[in-house]
């Protein structure tokens, strides 16, 4: 087990940068008073951010991912998360096999 001082410094600096990103939103924004329009904007944030995170992985990678995304939506309407994960992964694998 070794710990290079240079690598240690680097890891700690990157830790500071990531923690700053995580803390700043919660600490600063939680104090801001919101009007009705900005409240509506904040309520939409989970959907907007989540969609933005996954859109490229689902929409821009080709048909297998896009089809599996559609299947995940349909299965997700009824089934628990664990089932959706398995079905989506199986769909991606099957579609890659069939289409690619």
């Amino acid at each position: 087990m070794t710990m290079d001082p240079y690598n240690l410094t680097l890891i700690l600096l990157v830790t500071l940068a990531t923690f700053a990103m995580r803390a700043v939103g919660a600490v600063v924004m939680a104090r801001v008073e919101l009007g009705p329009i900005s409240s509506a904007a904040f309520e939409a944030m989970p959907v907007a951010v989540l969609t933005a995170v996954i859109a490229p992985a689902v929409l821009t990678q080709g048909w297998p991912e896009a089809i599996a995304g559609g299947v995940a939506v349909l299965v997700g309407l009824r089934a628990p998360t664990a089932v959706v994960i398995v079905v989506a992964m199986a769909t991606v694998a099957a579609m890659r096999h069939l289409l690619g």
Binding site: T2, A30, V84, M89
Partner: protein, 238 residues
């Protein structure tokens, strides 16, 4: 005490499918980092303190000897700008959190954990015990998985070959389905998804998340400003 333990377990159980999908990714991170010459202790420390999956893969990809500090810190800021938005949203629901608990909670913020915490907020209220049930179990799986990967080394193959990278998309889709309320949700989703995908194809880096998020949030604000309950012509709930 009883209620707290129960809430902690409820959080850990809710996130369990994500833990199963995270474990092989953590193993892969450990093996890749070891292949770049980091020691097992350094790999564990990075997973334990940086604790940001996507960023850690980018950092390892750019790792050299000596590693470029400025580039990596800048990358950390850019890749994780999305956490400002996530923190701003979930921070408003952390009314029962003490100040230290809030900071600890933010340290443990991940995309997946955040999504499940937001889902809990929709269902009722988010207790610290539930949040830490999610966060601590994810931290434990990520750190032990990376350490194990670093120790056993390569030979696992690439999890993306088995569709593991798509597991996380499936998790987020499940959470999104639960967030559906009316046609406005669809408008936010469409704006965010379209802008994110377009920016992803046109602009290098992780800016697509911010661009898509602002498109979605802006759509919600614009719809609220118009403020009528009937959908305008041409936009139907779908």
């Amino acid at each position: 005490m009883g209620a707290r333990t129960q809430d902690f377990s409820a959080g850990a159980i809710a996130i369990l499918p994500v833990l199963v999908a995270t474990a092989p990714v953590a193993l892969l991170f450990g093996t890749l980092a070891a292949a770049k010459g980091l020691s097992a202790l350094e790999i564990w420390l990075m997973s334990a303190t940086v604790y940001a999956g996507a960023l850690q893969f980018v950092a390892i990809d750019q790792w050299a000897d000596p590693a470029p500090i400025g580039l990596l810190v800048f990358t950390a800021l850019v890749v994780n700008v999305r956490h400002i938005l996530m923190g701003a949203s979930i921070g408003r629901a952390m009314t029962d959190f003490s100040r230290p608990a809030k900071y600890a909670g933010m340290f443990l913020l991940t995309d997946e954990g955040w999504a499940f915490a937001e889902r809990r907020v929709r269902e009722g209220s988010l207790t610290p015990a539930y949040y830490f049930g999610i966060g601590v179990s994810m931290w434990f799986v990520w750190t032990s998985g990376s350490l194990l990967g670093a120790v056993i080394g390569s030979g696992l193959g690439d999890p993306s070959a088995y569709g593991f990278n798509f597991a996380f998309s499936a998790v987020f889709i499940c959470v999104l389905v639960g967030f559906w309320s009316d046609w406005r949700t669809g408008a936010v989703l469409a704006a965010s998804g379209a802008v994110s995908a377009m920016v992803y194809l046109l602009v290098p880096g992780a800016w697509y998340i911010i661009a898509g998020a602002f498109a979605g949030v802006g759509t919600a604000a614009a719809l609220h400003a118009k403020s009528d309950d009937q959908p305008p012509d041409g936009i139907l709930p779908s």
